[in-house]
Amino acid sequence: MMTFFVAALLLSIGLYCVAVKRDLIKIAIGIIIMEYAITLFFVASAPWRGGEDYLAQVAALTGLATTIVIVALVRRLYGRYGTLDISQMRRLKG
């Protein structure tokens, strides 16, 4: 049961991070923490189904792909704006 609370806690920390932080790196870390929380949830619920589980691995792998795109985009954005503060990226309005 402990693992589920840790997963829920991690999920809330990640969501807080994405919603509140302005630094792009911190937002990226928030998303990654949420990914870890859900992978943990998959792993922790595996014993209910008899222990054998390939879905957790797939979930973790899909998370990796998102992470790569985030990091690549953040790097390009830093090159264009010279800052990582998302509140200063305001070319688009409406």
């Binding site: 999920l11 969501l15 994405v18 792009l24 937002i27 998303i31 949420m34 990914e35 859900i38 949830f41 998959f42 619920s45 209910w48 189904r49 390939y54 879905l55 797939v58 979930a59 899909t62 792909a65 998102t66 795109v69 985030i70 985009l73 953040v74 390009r76 954005l77 264009r80 704006y81 998302i86 990226m89 070319r91 688009l92 409406g94």
Partner: protein
Amino acid sequence: MNILLPLFIIVPLAAAFIMIPAARLSRKLPEIISFLATLYLLGATIALYWSRPSNLMLQYKFGVNLVLDGLSQLLLLAVTVVAFFVTIYSFSYMQKYTGREKYYTLYFLMLAGMAGVILTGDLFSLFVFLEMAAISTYALVAFGTQAEELEASIRYLIIGSVASLMILFGIGLVYALTGTSNLAEISRHLPANANFAKGFITALFLAGFGMKAALVPFHSWLPDAHTAAPAPISATLSGVLIKALGIYAIVRIIYNVLGISPQISLILMVLGIVSILAGVLLALWQWDFKRLLAYHSISQIGYVVLGVGLATPLGIMGGLFHLLNHAIFKSLLFLNAGAIEHQAGTRDLKQMGGLSRKMPVTAATSLIASMSIAGVPPFNGFWSKLFIILACIQAGKLWFALAAIIGSILTLSSFLKVQKYAFFEKVKQGFEDLRDAPWPMCAAMIVLALLCLLVGLLLPYAVGIVINPAVVALMNGLGYSRMILGGQ
């Protein structure tokens, strides 16, 4: 017929992976490959309709399976039609970008992801395909790598990944509760007393897929992403991606897996009506052509959700018919906006003017598309909106019907503004020697405009052959599991 089904995913994947080696051999090769691949996909979809297979399920190793029924066939038709014409359009439009083979690679990855979402019969495979399509669109939105495009892409990416994680969490809960991720088996294994868990899962899916479909409280990424992306990508995003990833997935799960209840139906209808009104009101004071179209996408998706949320046969028919029609006319409108941007170099409606004399094809096709989206008879958009409004009245929801009519009138006024500022009045300075778009772009726009007219005129055939099987699939409800697995 059995071999045709996996090819819908394998062909675009294969096309994506041979694109970059092929570009080394010849610069023309990526375009030839993408033309042939999308032509094949379109042909195969029409062949599927031609042979009218009964519902089909194919089972493979590792729990991978594919399911074809009326609903997936409808979505497949929308995706392949839009993909084919957008590819032809891209040949000219993408000339100004470098690294075109990468564009086509990402485009086909997105197509494979959408086809996978539509055809899979497994909740977890659905997530994997959804991520495949979503990640390639994050990259496609940022394809120009200008500041604006990167900014739109990072916003889309942050909201999109939160949505994906909500969906994944929901799938994890379903998996933990039932021990299976097969869509047909889930409804059999859901414990009868797990109402709280079921509600929580429904909420997670509604929020997650709602973000993917850009329903109103979750819509903030859409105007940025659709404005910043290259025009063919905006057309695909708005035309089919938000429907395949958002509407199709949520409708399939709510109707065929979890079961629809009056509460969920009401939530869907309220989300729909809020999207209709908020989208169109925000669209009214936009001057950026593509941004205006993006807000109209939110509004039109609202009609689809309103119709489907009614959960009556007429409502579902109107909603799904509007889904198909919106795929045609909204992708056409984005292609029009792209043609103007390509030739005149502006998206600002105030800077345009008199383009109907300089770009007759673009003007004529955009007039047809505008009348379709505004619901002017006899174009296709009129019929589907009429069905939705009639279904609201039939179900006794007069306020919803009234709101839908108001939304439609505001849409008409917004597109009158577009026509007036962009195409009528005097030709502005600097546009004297403007010419119409190159022929591949014109050809794609003309055929899509003809489709708008044809679907409206051949209404009984369109509804009978394409829409009704999809309505049957949804009205079947939890019978989905019986249809696929057999038995009680």
